[in-house]
């Protein structure tokens, strides 16, 4: 893929190489994607699918829903690629914005977050009971943290996901959230404060772990 694909007929998609964002790391893929080449979509997924899916996972707390969201994001990338207008945002930023919006939509529809249940005890030996007890403690603690994250307002949750889990730069994260860096930092500060307050009563358990 060389990014120099040119239109050759009236039915071809517009040549998106014109004015392509020079610093966009996906600039090499976008022309082929716009011309409907699945290999370009595959390359795009190699670069971004894991991050998109992980973001959806942290936002929704559910792996299956995260996969559905990721699928929808890349189908939209496929559909809209011919009309992509390179501008200030990178294509990956657009992908994350779509992810964000789909997650917000899903959260509004979702009434309960699926929580994994602790498995039934099958081995009652003392050793197995101890292992199970440890697993239950770990699972319970994990569940508290997941709940604390799930209880954050969606924009705060998105901010902490982009910062802590995705480790994006503040400029890129603010771009995805479509807010100023200052507003992004404010979201982060509120998210951390909120999480600390929710987890305050479990601080000693967290320290032990």
């Amino acid at each position: 893929m060389n990014g120099t694909h040119s239109a050759s007929g009236s039915n071809d998609p517009p040549d998106i190489t014109l004015g392509l964002h020079k610093t966009d790391p996906d600039a090499d893929i976008l022309p082929d994607l716009a011309h409907g080449k699945p290999a370009a979509l595959s390359a795009l997924m190699d670069r971004h699918l894991k991050a998109v899916k992980a973001t959806a996972h942290y936002m929704l707390g559910d792996e299956i829903m995260a996969e559905d969201i990721a699928q929808e994001v890349f189908l939209r990338a496929w559909k809209h690629a011919p009309n992509w207008q390179p501008g200030q945002a990178k294509f990956s930023t657009w992908l994350h914005r779509v992810t964000r919006n789909l997650c917000y939509d899903r959260l509004r529809k979702k009434k309960e977050i699926y929580r994994e249940t602790v498995p039934d005890m099958v081995d009652e030996s003392p050793e197995a009971s101890q292992v199970l007890q440890d697993q239950q403690n770990h699972s319970a603690q994990k569940s508290k943290i997941e709940n604390a994250l799930a209880n954050l307002p969606e924009r705060q949750r998105m901010a902490i996901t982009l910062c802590h889990f995705q480790e994006l730069s503040q400029i890129e994260a603010a771009d995805i959230l479509e807010v100023s860096v200052r507003a992004y930092e404010s979201l982060l500060a509120r998210a951390r404060k909120n999480l600390k307050e929710q987890l305050q009563s479990h601080k000693s358990e967290l320290l032990e772990s």
């Binding site: 409907g36 699945p38 890349f74 559909k79 994990k142 943290i145 951390r192």
Partner: protein, 159 residues
């Protein structure tokens, strides 16, 4: 290098946490120097943030490979027209490309064969659990197309 003081460090920790890799790149070096020079204060300032980060790290998303999901998405796009392009043209453009995808580089072919063999030997459902991150989605899609496995065979029940 930007100037930094206690109140700035407090502010940055409240935004970005205790791990400097998440701080703005322009502040990292100065921040590290300040923390190194003020170890007692640093410990006091970072303590709560470190606990929160450790807590968040325990819920990291499962590092599942995305190969089957990629194959699912690639399969879906073969039925999906792009905006501004009549579906017939998109489909015509897509068909030869998909055929072309069956031509892998040698290592991908070997990896795909190993994957398929594993699936036949131990049940195709276990393929999803195996570490297949080195096999491209195109390879898996192509295996599916060539072998005639139904989608449910590849993805398992309920996927």
């Amino acid at each position: 290098m930007s100037k930094i003081n206690k109140s700035k460090v407090l502010e940055l920790v409240s935004f970005y946490g205790a791990d400097l890799k998440r701080w703005p790149s322009t502040q990292r070096q100065a921040g590290q120097i300040w923390l190194d020079k003020n170890p007692a204060l640093a410990q006091e300032i970072l303590a709560d943030a470190i606990i929160l980060e450790q807590a968040l790290n325990t819920i990291s998303a499962p590092a599942s490979n995305t190969i089957l999901l990629q194959a699912r998405i690639l399969r879906e796009v073969t039925h999906t027209a792009q905006e501004g392009i009549p579906y017939e043209i998109a489909a015509n453009d897509t068909a030869p490309t998909l055929q072309a995808l069956t031509v892998f580089s040698a290592w991908k072919a070997v990896a795909a064969t190993l994957l398929l063999t594993t699936g036949m030997g131990f049940g195709i459902g276990q393929v999803a659990a195996a570490d297949t991150s080195y096999v491209s989605a195109e390879a898996l899609l192509s295996i599916s197309m060539q072998s005639g496995y139904a989608e449910t065979d590849l993805y398992g029940d309920g996927v």
